[in-house]
């Protein structure tokens, strides 16, 4: 066999790399293409082809809450008007609302706590910090009985905070702060305290040094925490499914799964909902990619 020159070797390597990457990309992209096609196809079958055979906007209309005509009996041409009672896109809006409010809450709670852990000395500081992380490992799904009881109790006294309310759900989400406290604290630790010390000498209070010096310097990490927690809440299913009972209060996760119930699987409607709500979120994520990557390498995890 003839020995290859280094140039040939490089070329083979490059071609092979592209071949592997493109093959992998096919695996990654095909499911999404199929869902897009399923959302434009008439009928509610499981996605199975790249291009829809009968293009129809019925599922998109259904998801948007626009009435459309459906052929009930192909022989007689009998039709009926179909309109969703609760437009499924409302679930997407609910999810956006719940996730963004909860994420802002997470920012406030974990930001202030992380500041205390990073800058103020108090007893049992590192013990508290470790306990936070370990306690958070308790799977929330399995504490649902307790969460149910607590929300039920709160709802008896403060009507807006009980079961079947989105504010109640947001409150529950606000418990999950410890991972974010760690991320923020880690970032604060990398910022030298000298500027804050100088400001203190100039007469600034602690609160002022926090809000006017440390916070402006930490905006990137706050963006990361916001994005990561937002995405985590968008995908949260079990707690939302137990807390929210009324159809018009559901979040995207609960609503999307409801289309795929055991007895009646509505793939077309699910696909349309997935496309209409997945695309904006995905675009937002890709635009913020740079932030997310920097946050991940500093130690956050998506749940």
């Amino acid at each position: 066999m003839k020995r290859l020159t280094p140039e040939q070797k490089t070329r083979i390597r490059r071609v092979l790399s592209h071949a592997v990457l493109i093959a992998m990309l096919a695996f990654v992209l095909v499911p999404y293409i199929m869902v897009v096609s399923a959302s434009f196809r008439r009928g509610n079958f499981a996605p199975s082809s790249l291009l829809p055979d009968h293009v129809s906007l019925e599922h998109c209309k259904y998801v948007l809450g626009i009435p459309y005509e459906e052929v009930v009996n192909p022989a007689t041409g009998e039709t009926r008007i179909v309109k969703a009672e609760t437009p499924p896109l409302l679930w997407f809006w609910n999810s956006i609302k719940v996730s963004s409010i909860a994420s802002i809450g997470i920012l406030l709670l974990s930001g202030t706590a992380a500041y205390a852990f990073a800058r103020i000395h108090f007893k049992f500081r590192s013990l508290t910090l470790s306990s936070l992380l370990i306690l958070q490992m308790f799977p929330m799904v399995l504490a649902l009985v307790a969460i149910y009881v607590i929300l039920d109790f709160m709802g008896q006294y403060v009507p807006g905070l009980g079961l079947n309310t989105q504010t109640g759900l947001i409150m529950v989400y606000l418990g999950g702060i410890s991972g974010y406290i760690w991320m923020l604290k880690g970032y604060f630790d990398t910022i030298p305290a000298s500027m804050e010390e100088a400001a203190t000498i100039d007469g600034a209070t602690q609160f002022q040094t926090f809000t006017q010096i440390l916070l402006p310097m930490s905006l990137p990490i706050f963006a990361v925490v916001f994005i990561l927690s937002f995405i985590a809440f968008m995908s949260e299913y079990p707690v939302a499914s137990i807390v929210l009972q009324a159809r018009d209060k559901w979040t995207l996760a609960v609503g999307a799964n409801s289309f795929l119930a055991e007895h009646q699987k509505l793939w077309g409607r699910f696909a349309a909902l997935a496309v209409l709500s997945g695309v904006p979120i995905t675009v937002m994520f890709l635009l913020c990619q740079k932030f997310v990557v920097s946050g991940l390498t500093s130690g956050g995890a998506k749940e």
Binding site: T10, R14, S17, L21, L25, V28, P31, Y32, M34, V35, F45, A46, P47, S48, S49, G105, T112, A113, A116, F122, S130, L132, I134, L135, M137, F138, P139, V141, L142, A143, V145, A146, V149, I150, Y157, M171, L174, G175, G176, I177, S178, I181, T205, Q208, I231, S235, Y237, P238, L252, A253, N257, L260, G278, F285, Q289, V293, T297, A301, K302, E303
Partner: protein, 513 residues
């Protein structure tokens, strides 16, 4: 900072006053201990924000409050439930179960009888008025109460109190004729109601026209036994079983919650119906998490190495497209893949059938389902590993590769002898937390397979993880068993908490170096 205007004090007051009001409401409705705890929290809050020496806690208080209510409190409560018998059969507290026995009545012969009238009120409520047939001065009336037409009120309802009505005073509202009561379908709900006179006698509708006093069926003994006054049988509470039992040891009436110590834990390890699936599921959970970590890390590493080659084109485009499964909300991705892996109509099998004439049973075969779960998790999880590996690769100085190239190394040697040994130690905390995350990956299993297919001869599924198995014990099974589920949850927590602790130790060591 305080320029004469007490902003902080006003803010504290604005938050404290409504909180105190709620605390008062809680106290008023009879939850004294909870009210006390709330009061303590409010006082602590006021102290933290007004006392200058507590400044660290000013920043910690809001976060700790949320964490305390929605993480620590549920955790403690769940651990507690793990030590109790608490299920659909043992649902009520002991006091409520006892009260139910105390409410059971029976008609006595020769009992006092009363004429009665039902008055309807303007606000849709009703008042019952009764008058002793032998002594017309003994007159009683209830407060207005709700009565739902054609619906039997729950048997557990407390008796409605009847208060003496002074002479000359009449009940407000419109008296209803018998026919009216019938027409409004109020007869059967009324018949199911019990009323109590001031001397604790229970009265109820007897026939259609009269009220008669009834006697309580069970009498409490000094030592906690209940004696049946009709037939003389004796029952006593069995706190081990959470039921009242008679002399023959048979359960009588409703069960109650009871503290049973380590019974639930013993059941996990001794009851063959639970032990069998439990250990099988434990093994699978372990294998699933380990394999998921290994597969996602391998693929993520491969992709990041390929994309880090200096002469690769379209790097940014590739990277953006490869991140997609991470960017799309996880729930949607899982459900999309569930559709693709549909055994009969899904795209995966359609393709395999077309290419190889073979269609794996992703839904009904245990190994097929396990393979699908792993494939889907690989698809969902590799972008995260790819991002992390990319970050690490970029932090390796290129000079060491240049040095090894001079020594005549090739790419395979570079990867296994330079890159991997450098990246792996730094990756260990990430791999451990990824393992812990997958150990409790509820969403994936619950939404993708629901645990299915069913295990032979058990109520668990072949792809169930411990977390979904436990969830099903608590919420889905025929006999929802919160006690047992909480005990398993506690074991799970100990396990995963231990992993987190090891992880902490490891990262701390690294930081020190």
């Amino acid at each position: 900072m305080n320029q004469g205007f007490p902003i902080r004090q006003i803010l504290v007051a604005l938050l404290a006053i409504p909180s105190l009001f709620v605390t008062f409401l809680v106290y008023q409705t009879g939850n004294a201990y909870i009210a006390l705890a709330l009061l303590a929290v409010v006082c602590l809050g006021v102290f933290v924000y007004l006392n200058p020496s507590a400044n660290a806690f000013r920043y910690l208080f809001p976060g700790f409050l949320g964490f305390g209510i929605f993480v620590i409190l549920p955790l403690v409560y769940t651990i507690y439930i793990g030590f109790t018998k608490y299920s659909s059969q043992n649902l009520l507290s002991f006091d409520r179960a006892l009260a139910l026995f105390r409410q059971e009545t029976f008609a006595v012969e020769g009992a006092a009888t009363f004429k009665y009238k039902l008055y309807s009120q303007d606000n849709g409520k009703y008042v019952v008025y009764i008058e002793d047939e032998k002594d017309a001065t003994k007159r009683f009336a209830s407060e207005p109460f709700d009565l739902q037409p054609a619906e039997k009120p729950k048997a557990q309802q407390e008796p409605i109190k009847l208060n003496p009505l002074p002479d000359g005073q009449e009940v407000e509202g419109t008296p209803m004729e018998m026919a009216q009561i019938n027409r409004a379908k109020l007869m059967s709900p009324l018949k199911a109601l019990r009323f109590s006179l001031p001397d604790e006698t229970i009265v109820g509708l007897e026939g259609l026209t009269k009220f008669a006093s009834r006697q309580r069926l069970w009498q409490t003994d000094a030592d906690g036994k209940l004696v049946n006054k009709k037939d003389g049988t004796v029952i006593r509470p069995d706190f081990r079983q959470g039921f009242f039992v008679n002399d023959q040891g048979e359960k009588v009436g409703v069960g109650f919650r009871t503290f049973t110590g380590f019974d639930n834990y013993m059941r996990i390890f001794t009851d063959s119906r639970i032990r069998g699936p439990f250990f099988k599921i434990f093994l699978w959970t372990f294998a699933f998490s380990a394999l998921s970590v290994f597969l996602t890390f391998s693929l993520g590493m491969l992709l990041s190495v390929l994309l880090e080659q200096p002469d690769i084109r379209f790097r940014r485009t590739y990277r953006t497209l490869f991140i997609l499964p991470y960017a799309v909300p996880g729930v949607l991705s899982i459900l999309i893949l569930k559709g693709l892996f549909n055994q009969e109509f899904g795209a995966v099998n359609e393709l395999l059938r077309g290419l190889f004439g073979f269609a794996p049973e992703w839904e009904t075969n245990p190994w097929g389902a396990r393979a699908m779960v792993l494939l889907v998790n690989l698809w969902l999880g590799y972008p995260y590993m790819m991002l992390i590996c990319t970050g690490m690769l970029q932090s390796i100085p290129s000079s060491i590769y240049e040095a090894s190239a001079i020594d005549g190394s090739n790419q395979r040697i570079d990867f296994f002898h330079l890159t991997l040994p450098l990246v792996l130690p730094a990756m260990i905390p990430i791999l451990i937390s990824s393992f812990a995350f997958n150990f409790n990956n509820f969403n994936l299993i619950f939404l993708l397979t629901g645990g299915g297919p069913q295990m032979v001869g058990g109520n668990a599924g072949e792809t169930d993880l411990l977390v979904t198995y436990t969830f099903n014990i608590a919420f889905r099974d025929s006999g929802t068993n919160f006690g047992l589920a909480s005990a398993i949850a506690t074991l799970l927590f100990i396990l995963v908490g231990f992993l987190a602790w090891i992880n902490l130790r490891l990262t701390r060591k690294q930081v020190k170096i």
